[in-house]
């Protein structure tokens, strides 16, 4: 049995932040959870899917974040508490629905959980979901530790039902992925029946229509809800203050930065001089509470990630009450006390705070950078970002790269989001030339492919993962086909959402809860839309490359090549070798004319190792997955494969 279903009140468990959020949802009696996988958010839906049967829940990985939010909202409308999770930029995808949902309001409690990724540890953006709460006028709360991650999640449902609107609970990587002890409450025993009521008075949110119109009426009602939330926030136990009554400096913070701020005050020994206001409710700010703490001192430092969201809101409120509390001096992002890009850490916060407090503090020794550089280059193994051994993407991009080079018309690939985004780098032969949002590769290609009338004559390609295909590639593909754009889409179908940990997607036969579901056939969908479709195994390099060249030369509309080969890490494939690989050292050309180490210098599968002393290539049998692809790139036939 999973820890998460432990029903003994007061028991403590070591939980990851995301698990704590999941437990909070379980304690709140959430019945429906939906999400789209994205680091650092994925473990919430994953944890819930594991206990779905036991907890009598419905849990799904949706095709995209907007659909996930819609699925969760339907549950709320039918009287069930629900949750919806996503990574930061997922909120952008869902935001159109979110705007309207905030206008229509919700019935049973509904909480959306975006997990932001400051520093873009596993993203190509460090987008801010917090601004959406302000933009669409819904309450925003942010847990400051692991216990709060659970407790605030549970509380968020009460808040949502109190104001009958959706609540945003925002987490960040260091909150979602770090672990801490969490004390449990009990799980509810409920027996709810879902029912969507619509026969009531048209404007009755609970029994009438669920829409955001008439806008003037609904918008005013929504703002009443926000006012109510603000009142509730005045007394919220998740807003806490520690420090002296008259601090020299008031630090205002939230989320994971709470931990950094605490540490910085401790390291600098400022417990008696600095006060720490940790806010759990970050939008809208409760004015009375703010007034109380802002009155304590004239100097205020705001510590947050990434943009100065809290800082701006505090400044507005301070300006509004300036006649009562006096003029404040602010420190934060806008005055560059703290950086406005990237993740914070205790060091950065300590150095910012020490400057504000006039303390001479050196967070790291002078020669630290030098030493670090030395150790990094001499002591640690060289670990560049690369595809796994046996990864089908390496093979796919080898062929895509070669097809483009052979074609010789300066073709290029519009990239997309997934493990294969790494094909921007040498590990994917630097094949991708643009990468933006999910599905944007095909959208951009659709645009490029229409520029022929302006003399544009480069072949246009796009790549999309299988999960991305369902997420947002389909509309772009429809657009391209309908508008007779000229492009080749390569669908890198590795049978799973590999990047975020093999969550199922609509192309597979099992859903999040392990049930049998119908799989959507990508090639069939593309064919039905009218594209010319080919399906190949990317491990067959020659055939893949040939097909690509042929498709690129076919200038009549949209061509789709589905490259189907399971991810090397997929549970079905792991540890199963297709071939036993070996090297015939006698014929290995190595560094000489005729090869120049194409296997270890260019192809660079981690399973191939260059033996510097003996000047031959070796197979690292522990790492090699036995895919056999390298045998086809060796010009000497020195890499041998034997079927196992």
């Amino acid at each position: 049995m999973s820890n998460l279903m432990d029903n003994r009140k007061g028991r403590q468990h070591l939980l990851m932040g995301n698990e704590a959020i999941a437990r909070g949802a379980l304690e709140a009696g959430v019945k429906v959870a939906a999400g789209y996988p994205g680091t650092p958010s994925s473990e919430i839906v994953e944890s819930l899917s594991r206990v779905a049967k036991e907890a009598n829940m419905y849990v799904e990985w949706s095709a995209n974040e907007k659909v996930a939010m819609e699925v969760a909202a339907a549950a709320s409308f039918a009287g069930l508490r629900s949750m919806c999770t996503m990574k930061q930029n997922g909120v952008n995808v869902a935001s159109d629905f979110l705007l309207h949902l905030a206008g229509s309001g919700t019935r049973a409690g509904m909480v959306i959980v975006p997990c932001d990724d400051p520093g873009a540890l596993s993203s190509i953006n460090e987008g801010e979901s917090r601004y959406f709460a302000r933009l669409v006028e819904i309450p925003l709360i942010e847990p400051g530790d692991f216990q709060e991650a659970k407790d605030m999640t549970k509380w968020a449902y009460e808040l949502s039902e109190e104001i009958r609107n959706v609540v945003m609970l925002r987490s960040v990587t260091r909150m979602s992925h770090a672990s801490g002890n969490v004390r449990f409450d009990t799980l509810p025993r409920d027996n709810v029946k879902a029912m969507f009521k619509f026969d009531g008075f048209i404007l009755d949110q609970m029994e009438g229509l669920v829409i955001s119109a008439p806008v003037d009426y609904k918008h005013a009602q929504q703002q009443e809800k926000i006012k109510k939330a603000r009142e509730i926030f005045e007394e919220c136990p998740f807003n806490t203050y520690t420090g002296p009554d008259r601090p020299e400096l008031l630090v205002i913070t939230s989320s994971a930065c709470n931990l950094y701020a605490k540490e910085a005050i401790e390291i600098l020994g400022l417990e008696d001089r600095v006060g720490l206001l940790k806010l759990g409710t970050t939008w809208p700010l409760p004015p009375n509470l703010m007034k109380k703490y802002l009155s304590m001192t004239d100097r205020v430092m705001v510590i947050e990630e990434v943009l100065p969201f809290l800082e701006e809101n505090v400044k507005v409120i301070a300006a509004e009450m300036a006649s009562d509390i006096g003029i404040k001096r602010f420190y934060g992002k806008n005055d560059a006390t703290l950086p406005m890009v990237g993740e914070l850490n205790p060091d950065i916060v300590v150095s910012g705070m020490s400057r504000v407090m006039g303390i001479d503090y050196k967070p790291v020794p002078d020669d630290y950078a030098q030493k670090a550089q030395l150790y990094a280059t001499t002591k640690s193994p060289n670990r560049e970002l690369t595809f796994c051994p046996g990864c089908p993407h390496r093979a796919s991009f080898w062929s895509i790269h070669n097809a483009i080079e052979l074609d010789g018309r300066k073709g290029f690939v519009c990239g997309d989001i997934g493990c294969y985004t790494m094909a921007l780098l040498p590990c994917g032969f630097s094949t991708l030339k643009t990468v933006h949002a999910m599905g944007s590769g095909t959208g951009l290609a659709s645009g490029f492919g229409k520029l022929g009338q302006f003399g544009f004559d480069q072949p246009v390609l796009a790549v999309s993962g299988d999960s991305t295909f369902f997420h947002t590639t389909i509309p772009a593909l429809i657009n391209a086909i309908h508008n007779r754009s000229n492009l080749t889409l390569v669908v890198l179908d590795n049978s799973g959402t590999a990047m975020t940990g093999f969550q199922p997607h609509p192309g597979l036969e099992k859903n999040a809860m392990g049930e049998e579901v119908p799989a959507i056939d990508i090639a069939g969908v593309c064919r039905a839309m009218g594209a010319r479709v080919e399906v190949r195994d990317p491990f067959d390099l020659e055939e893949t490359r040939n097909t690509l060249n042929e498709l690129m030369e076919d200038e009549k509309g949209v061509k789709v090549l589905v490259l189907r080969q399971m991810c090397a890490l997929s549970p079905e494939k792991k540890a199963k070798k297709r071939y036993e690989m070996s090297i015939d050292e006698e014929i290995c050309i190595g560094e000489n004319c005729g090869c120049d180490r194409v296997c270890t210098r260019v192809f660079r599968c981690p399973g191939l190792v260059w033996d510097k002393e003996r000047k031959v290539t070796r197979i690292d049998e522990v790492i090699c997955t036995g895919c056999g692809v390298c045998a086809d790139i060796c010009p000497a036939g020195a890499i041998k494969r034997k079927e196992v």
Binding site: N402, E405, L406, N549, C593, D596
Partner: protein, 372 residues
Amino acid sequence: MKIYGSKELVEDVISRDMCIGCGACNFLCPYFRPYRGKVAMLFPCDLDKGRCWAYCPKAEVDLEELSKIFYGKAYEGDPLGSYEEIRISRAGPRMMAKGDFQAGGTVSSIVSLALKKGYISSAVLTDRKGILPVPRIVTRPEEVLECSTSKYTAAPTLSAFNQAVKDGYRNIGVVGTPCQVLAVAQMRTNPMEDEGFEDPTGLVLGLFCTWALDYRAFEEFITSRVDVSSIRKVDIPPPPAEIMEVYTDGGAKMEIPLDEVRKLVPETCTYCTDMTSEFADISVGVLEGRPDMNTLIIRTQRGKDIVDEAIKEGYLVVEEMPKKNLEHLRWAAGNKKKRALVKARDAGIVNTSDGKRSLLRLAPKTLEAIIA
């Protein structure tokens, strides 16, 4: 002679559109590949010296050195190169009516005989798929006929030669244009000084050539005029015809003025000094006024032996070369040489000094004499 590597090959030849796509640098390594008339470098190689550079007929060709190695004398700039005999010829009774030849069928006849009699183990020829020239390694005389007739676009024939060598073939016969023959000549000198090197050729048969067309340009040109899949043969009859003839299924013939076709000639051909494949064993071209005959130049003993055998076995019929034709041939070949050298000199890519790389090297006074 200093040997450079792929970086310089890309810099001097490929990126300057000096590449004719002969195929000499292809398949030696995983990096240079031919594709539809163009050569692509798939990935950079970081070696300073390479066979790609050493073999390329458009990079640092030392005519003095080649002449010394193959003919034991200085390069004299004779329009027709060094030779033993010049004749005219056509397929003999054993070959006649067997195939569709470009002209007299001399090339196919000699190659067939050489295969049959074991002078060569295999032959590297140029077949076609549609209008795309496709290099081919053949080992049986019947296959020689499948590759007959000229493809007037430049072909990566030597990519198949490299593959044949890699596959272990020795005594290989190869038929190529003058640039290809020049590349083969450089290969045969073992420029990289590899240990255990053996000359892999058994017969080098050179074609005459004034220019070849750029494949991609020609494809675009011709597809807008005829259905490519119906093309059976393309011919450029000897002067003064001034046309390209395209024969299609059902016997139809289309004539295209040569002036239009000349626009599709790549710049690199205008730097080419060799019209008659001067470093081949045997060179073959058309004969003005006699579409059923070829001009035949025999340059080496090995070439002569094979021709003699071909005559003896009824594969080849030879006649004396009419004096008028010889004069004209000299004049045409001399013209090509002169024009190319003037152009190369003006571009500063012949006999350069101070470490600058050249297209060609030859004795300065020979250069002066040709240009004068």
